[in-house]
């Protein structure tokens, strides 16, 4: 393969990854309603297979997205250019934002739980979603800005 087509390949993969990150973040966030309902169902009707399946899928996707954001995906191992300094800097920024948002929202939940009754079965999936979707979206946006 000649040099220009190689670089085109990497660019294409990076663009694909960025789009994938957007889609994954949106899909992951859209699962929230189902997960909260499943958590409520377990609390009220006991454990049913369908609820376990929904929550299990949520957790597996959460862990998958987390690994994807942390490593840059399986193709980043094959193409070192997909994990260059700029990508690493963008990832560090995204994780920093995710960390700050996550810790601050946990604190906000903690303080509000002292004054009003908070249903943690609803709040915990929201916190997990915020904690994972924020750095994913932020990473995708930073990568998009870098492409321009």
């Amino acid at each position: 393969m000649s040099e220009p087509s190689k670089s085109f390949d990497v660019e294409y993969e990076i663009k694909r990854r960025r789009k994938g990150l957007f889609v994954i973040a949106i899909v992951f966030t859209s699962m929230l309603g189902g997960v909260i309902a499943a958590t409520d169902d377990i609390a009220s009707h006991g454990v049913r297979a369908i609820d376990v399946f929904r929550i299990g899928a949520f957790i597996i996707i959460a862990l998958g997205v987390l690994i994807f954001v942390l490593t840059g995906g399986p193709r980043a191992f094959r193409h070192p250019a997909m994990n260059d300094e700029l990508v690493r800097a963008n990832r560090a920024k995204a994780l920093r934002l995710g960390y700050v948002v996550f810790v601050l929202s946990t604190m906000a939940i903690y303080v509000s739980s002292l004054f009003v009754a908070v249903d943690f079965s609803e709040v915990l999936p929201v916190l997990i979603t915020v904690g994972i979707a924020v750095p994913t979206l932020s990473f995708a946006i930073l990568e998009q800005n870098g492409e321009k």
Binding site: V103, Y110, L114, G131
Partner: protein, 147 residues
């Protein structure tokens, strides 16, 4: 002031910051028992003034330590070398670890809540502590290694 004495000063300040960060992280961990008790009192019976002060102090302390980790303290504005590339890389690594540990701990609490009856509000201050102490200690450790 000579170059070497300035460098010595800087090293001293850096070393002091690392020590202070590690000590603050340990202090925050040691507050856990009191904060858990205060949280329980406030949630169950409205709480006494002292419980509210304890909880408030914990939150303020957590925010201050968070800011300290993110910015490196006030002196890093005065000395740009206190916020150089190595420090930034160490901070990024510490925050990454803190983020991963906290998210995984939260997922753990969520799964445990589904399997056993759990007072989740007791675990929230613990999560906050994890989320702040882990990067503080990691940052301090990495900076110490760099020395």
């Amino acid at each position: 002031m000579s170059e070497s004495s300035q460098a010595n000063d800087m090293e001293k300040v850096l070393r002091r910051r690392n020590r202070v960060m590690a000590v603050l992280a340990v202090v925050m961990m040691s507050l856990q028992g009191a904060v858990l008790a205060a949280t329980e009192h406030v949630t169950l019976n409205g709480g006494r003034a002292v419980d509210k002060v304890q909880v408030g102090a914990f939150v303020v302390f957590a925010l201050a330590l968070l800011r300290f980790i993110l910015t490196g303290g006030r002196r890093s504005r005065k000395y740009p070398a206190m916020n150089d590339e190595l420090v930034q890389a160490n901070r990024a690594s510490a925050l990454k670890l803190g983020y991963v540990v906290t998210i995984l701990a939260l997922i753990g609490v969520y799964v445990a809540m589904l399997l056993t009856p759990l007072d989740v509000f007791k675990y929230i201050p613990l999560l906050i502590t994890f989320g702040i102490v882990v990067p503080a200690l990691r940052f301090s450790l990495l900076e110490r290694k760099g020395e």
